[in-house]
């Protein structure tokens, strides 16, 4: 199972990604350096960026307002409509039990949004704070914490996940908490790395020589520069968590039915692939677009806000 480490620097590191992604600002003239991306159109964010943001907002809205939208009942089975393709009655078709896909998709967004937001929130908060502290204070504290982090990362997290889920039972809360806790080591690493990079910068040393207390330096100089890259990283991580829910669903360990989740919809569609591909394709498309948008937005922001890229 893919580790809980999002593909940080790999996801969009190379410049010149999808149309609209701005390459970084003016490079020096008079060199023979090849320009790698398209010619940047200034600091404007492209069409693709805003489309991605729009989709994410849509998903968020769906999650929040699912209850009140005029949709069919996502729990109501209707054998007569079993595996129907898109129709007037079921705009996105029906699943194996005849339940309306559109409605299930919208309700399923709740699970995806909740799990990803809370898991990433926990990870970022705890991991971010811990990593920043470790990176700044160093010493024995750092050695101990990072050793624990390394062990946690070496640990087959799947075992832990399965074991706890088997013991405590599956529910949205448990899954969110668990994934959150398991992702703390990764954020600790990221926050630490960024803190280390920033703490060496001249402006921190300058603050130090000016007599600023450690706490002041931490909050005024270091934290602002670490928060942004970690946040951007977190956006990409949300995509990873959404995928993780899908993986758990395949193993039969996600939020138990009849609660609709995207992962469950995809997993159960496998048995009907020959008659009803739409049952697999539609929730897959939703998950794909969401993860893609998260990756894109997170990556664009990261390249904008990253201390290195900002040319400081």
């Amino acid at each position: 199972m893919a580790a809980l480490q999002p593909l940080d620097d790999v996801v969009g590191d190379a410049t010149g990604t999808a149309e609209g992604a701005p390459a970084d600002g003016a490079t020096a003239a008079g060199t023979t350096a090849a320009r790698t991306g398209r010619r940047p159109r200034g600091r404007r964010l492209g069409v693709a960026f805003w489309l991605a943001v729009a989709w994410l907002v849509l998903v968020l809205l769906a999650a929040l307002t699912a209850e009140w939208l005029p949709l069919a009942d996502p729990y109501l089975p209707d054998v007569s409509a079993k595996l129907e393709g898109p129709s007037a009655e079921h705009p996105l078709g029906a699943d194996g039990l005849g339940r309306d896909q559109l409605s299930r998709l919208v309700h399923g967004a709740r699970v995806s949004v909740t799990v990803s937001l809370s898991a990433v929130g926990i990870g970022m908060l705890v991991g971010g704070v811990l990593g920043t502290a470790v990176g700044y204070l160093r010493g024995l504290f750092e050695t101990v914490v990072m050793a624990v982090v390394d062990v946690m990362l070496a640990f087959p997290s799947l075992v832990l996940l399965l074991a706890v889920l088997a013991y405590v039972g599956r529910s949205l809360t448990v899954i969110s908490l668990l994934i959150g806790v398991l992702s703390i080591p990764v954020y600790t690493r990221v926050a630490r790395a960024n803190t280390l990079a920033v703490a060496q910068r001249e402006f921190v040393l300058a603050a130090h020589t000016l007599g600023a207390t450690r706490r002041r330096i931490l909050f005024r100089e270091i934290v602002p520069n670490v928060v942004l890259p970690v946040l951007a990283f977190g956006l990409v991580a949300m995509g990873v968590v959404i995928v993780l829910e899908g993986s758990l669903a395949v193993l039969g360990l996600s939020v138990p039915p009849p609660e609709p989740t995207w992962g469950d919809m995809i997993a159960t569609s496998k048995t009907h692939l020959d008659d009803a591909p739409h049952a697999a394709l539609i929730p897959s498309a939703a998950m794909f677009l969401t993860v893609l948008s998260l990756n894109f937005v997170g990556d664009t922001l990261r390249r904008r806000l990253d201390v290195k890229d900002a040319g400081l």
Binding site: A26, G30, T31, T32, R35
Partner: protein, 352 residues
């Protein structure tokens, strides 16, 4: 300096009006602005300028090594009569390494760190001259010996990081000379080296040039390097040649104020103690935003209004010594311009 076109051209390299521009988000940068230059077989031409003067871009443009996506190279560069500008990379590969070769500034970054030194020489030999492995190996050893590397049989298997800076540069020179090029372009070959090694490397280049009757272009920011080792010198500023002539003449009777400034910067042992160091005041211009007129005007002690409106072009004083200045050093007009500025307290020059 030049010959007529009808005779078989002894002019090895003939550059006419070479212009290189880069399209950047901030605007078009003119890195090389209409440079013309000749290099004969057996002679060394020095190109002097600060960082950003365009000397490196010039050398790369002339040899067709500018690969940037938004770069445009226009003009004419003839190597032994063959036009290079506009050639495809495949055609240029017949020329690179074979007819013209380049020695780069920092051998540690120019050499491939993950390849043995000998292999970096033999790959040229085997590709261009079709040598077999054993012959190439022997030739590589001989080349290393000829550039002054002791124990070449052993060194041939070394990696670049196992050699000293001076030896690495010798290796780079050996690589450049491997296929017997007619033209050698040395781009700041000694800048990354210790002063004691610099002389050795320059001597080596000199020696090889004479032995092989090559033409050599020596690019540097250091006038001391240029002084005893070049036949002619071109001084570059903001992408243009501002003064050009036989080395002795240029040093003794410099015309352009920039050249004058550069020469004044060199501290002399003969000066009394505590003599203030001089510098050319100001900074090199932003090549995107060049003001009209002479590019050196903002920093020139003799600049007049005319300099800021009209752009001076290279004019010959009659002896093969060209300069691009309306009020050259040492002329009555020049002296008058200087005096006028001093009266108005406009001069930025630090007094001697």
């Amino acid at each position: 300096m030049t010959t007529t076109e009808t005779e078989p051209a002894p002019t090895l390299l003939r550059v006419r009006d070479l212009r290189t521009t880069f399209d950047t988000p901030r605007g078009t940068v003119v890195a090389v602005d209409g440079v013309s230059l000749d290099v004969d077989r057996g002679e060394t031409v020095g190109i002097v300028g600060e960082s950003g003067s365009g000397k490196t871009v010039l050398s790369r443009s002339a040899l067709g090594l500018v690969t940037a996506r938004h770069a445009t190279v226009t003009g004419s560069v003839r190597l032994e009569g063959e036009e290079l500008v506009g050639r495809s990379p495949r055609e240029m590969r017949r020329i690179w390494g074979v007819k013209a070769a380049m020695v780069f500034q920092d051998p540690m970054t120019a050499l491939n760190a993950t390849m043995r030194v000998g292999d970096q020489i033999t790959e040229s030999l085997r590709h261009h001259l079709d040598m077999g492995r054993r012959e190439a190996r022997a030739t590589a050893v001989a080349l290393l010996r000829s550039v002054g590397i002791p124990e070449p049989e052993r060194r041939v298997r070394a990696y670049p990081h196992q050699l000293s800076g001076g030896m690495r540069q010798r290796v780079t020179i050996a690589i450049a000379l491997a296929c017997g090029p007619r033209l050698l372009v040395a781009d700041e070959p000694t800048t990354a080296l210790d002063v004691t090694i610099q002389k050795q490397i320059l001597d080596l280049l000199d020696h090889q040039r004479r032995e092989r009757a090559m033409g050599m272009v020596l690019i540097t920011h250091d006038l001391g390097v240029v002084a005893g080792r070049t036949d002619r010198v071109a001084v570059m500023y903001a992408g243009r040649i501002v003064e050009h002539g036989p080395t002795r003449a240029l040093f003794h009777e410099r015309r352009h104020h920039y050249t004058d400034g550069l020469l004044r910067c060199i501290p002399r042992l003969s000066n009394p103690g505590h003599t203030r160091l001089q510098a050319v005041p100001g900074r090199p211009p932003d090549l995107v935003d060049l003001p009209p007129g002479c590019p050196f005007a903002p920093r020139c002690p003799a600049a007049q209004d005319r300099c800021r409106e009209e752009t001076p072009t290279l004019t010959d004083a009659g002896d093969g010594h060209q300069h691009a200045c309306f009020f050259p050093v040492g002329t009555p007009e020049g002296e008058e311009a200087l005096a006028r500025n001093r009266r108005r307290d406009r001069t930025a020059e630090v007094a001697v």
